[in-house]
Symmetry: C2
Subunit: 354 residues, 2 copies
Amino acid sequence: MTSFPCMNAGSNESSYAKNSVVQKTVILKSRNILEKTIEDYAVKGFPECFKLADLGCSSGPNTLLVVTNIIKNVHAICKNKKQAAPEIQVFLNDLPDNDFNTVFKMVPPLLSNMENCFISGVPGSFYTRLFPSKSIHLVHSSYSVHWLSKVPDKLENNKGNIYMSKTSPPGVHEAYFNQFKKDFMKFLRLRSEEVIPNGRMVLTIVGRSGTDPTSKECCGLWELLVMSLQDMVAEGLLDEKDIDTFNLPLYTPCVDEVLAIVELEGSFKIDRWETSQVNWDTQDENEAKSVKSKGSSGKIVAMAVRSVTEPMLISHFGEACIDKLFERYVVHADDHLSREKTENFNIMISAKRK
Amino acid sequence: MTSFPCMNAGSNESSYAKNSVVQKTVILKSRNILEKTIEDYAVKGFPECFKLADLGCSSGPNTLLVVTNIIKNVHAICKNKKQAAPEIQVFLNDLPDNDFNTVFKMVPPLLSNMENCFISGVPGSFYTRLFPSKSIHLVHSSYSVHWLSKVPDKLENNKGNIYMSKTSPPGVHEAYFNQFKKDFMKFLRLRSEEVIPNGRMVLTIVGRSGTDPTSKECCGLWELLVMSLQDMVAEGLLDEKDIDTFNLPLYTPCVDEVLAIVELEGSFKIDRWETSQVNWDTQDENEAKSVKSKGSSGKIVAMAVRSVTEPMLISHFGEACIDKLFERYVVHADDHLSREKTENFNIMISAKRK
């Protein structure tokens, strides 16, 4: 059985590898907080072997980008301080269905330029223990922790929706928040067992800027998906009940919720936090140099959403409808983007193990 | 580019996963030496986290067999001594082209029965550094170390052969032995940097019982392959030159060679060694319970050889000839097996880091 959420494997047009420019931009935007965290760490000196974990590493050009940045950073700091660089052991984690084979083929060229670095892959959910006790110095995770361990309970009456929405009945936001709180508490407790005292954790989570859990910045992409699914129902290609029984396993928290849960769990102290915004339409971002030709913005957004949801959608709605579904998504996204600028809101925290 | 030697991926008829019964039998035959090594280790007590590496883990039903045996062993010893079991961190290593995705899908069911065990995959050649300094307590490797880092130099005159043979000209055995010596010395030096003092290493290597490097037990399987290739030449399906320029990157040492190289390199002391034999025709082995129906012995041997050589053969001879080549192999193997019993000779050593 496929474990969720997993990104689209391989390297074809709808793969995560080909459609993760937003995630790349987010990684670039979080460089500052990550670099400051490593600088902080360096004040007391690195251990003989600096062990870091990237949770939800996925598979594609971004997977080794974070790792490469961290290694270069550590080496630059040590060079600057005229110290020998530590050995660095990297654990790339994602669900067992992640395409590790593709990641692993990229490892030897990377390591050929980096002495004393060792890279391994760890298959498993970060809602379970992944590493031995007190063995990790730095945990990093970008665009992963907002994925829940499962679809929340008590969403039976969220009919016509696949996530929180302005038309969701009472109790739906609560069900989502409760699942996020439970999962994030568990995530923190598990990491607190694995991270050494004074070890660090840098997380980037998709969230929302205000208190309204149904604001466009966190729900807009999914509302376009609902509209596309409803088109399919209207055309007799899907059954309305299929939408009623499908809900996404993710939650987009606000900063206060994230900070409060870290404080409540108690193992980590937040050193710094930042927020950033990143345009859905990656053609609109300066950083997204890899998008060279101007294409349909709707198509770009549709493929980005497809690349992170397709395995889930196939499991619920079947494989046959996917192409048609995202053809409709392109139309809705183009229409939407012609009317307003749309952005993801990102919450970045740097926390220290007490 | 495919790194060699890698086993046939996937799970189809010619995959390594479906054709590794000999290797399984070998693993079962080496259980004794592995168990004694772990018992020895336990005398001074396990560390808080017992770290073990399986080098050349491949992908298939055997991959987690060794690991499972070791973990069960450690747990049984601790239970017996009424001690808490250590955490166990396992590093599964193979070349980056190994099918780690298939291995990783088998990890969660295994770990669901085993608390405090952590499994990761490490892509890379064991002729490079794979792990941080002094970080591994037990290295295991079965049926891998006889694979060389490359085809030896100076084999230009080994025409009509693909390995050492009775018809090989002078210098061919020397070229093979020199490459093995160089590679095995390097393997030992690299592991000596990674294994902690008093850490252990258990290796099973395909070898030969006597001093003759062209004896049937180590060259027979490859001579059948040469005969099959020559059939293809006779039928105009391959060019004779293609055989002349192909040589296998492996060496089958005798016990004295292995012991002498370990002593010469100097980092490890051999505690014990054993030898065993295992029939090519797995229908002929009591241990090989997984072969249920009596089929063509030639076919079984052909598929076993195919599963470990196909990527190499495709790279040199092209994909088109493979099916035809192994059809001929079946005939030669059936004929050969009808005339004599054929066995692989295995050398098992248990060594301690000085």
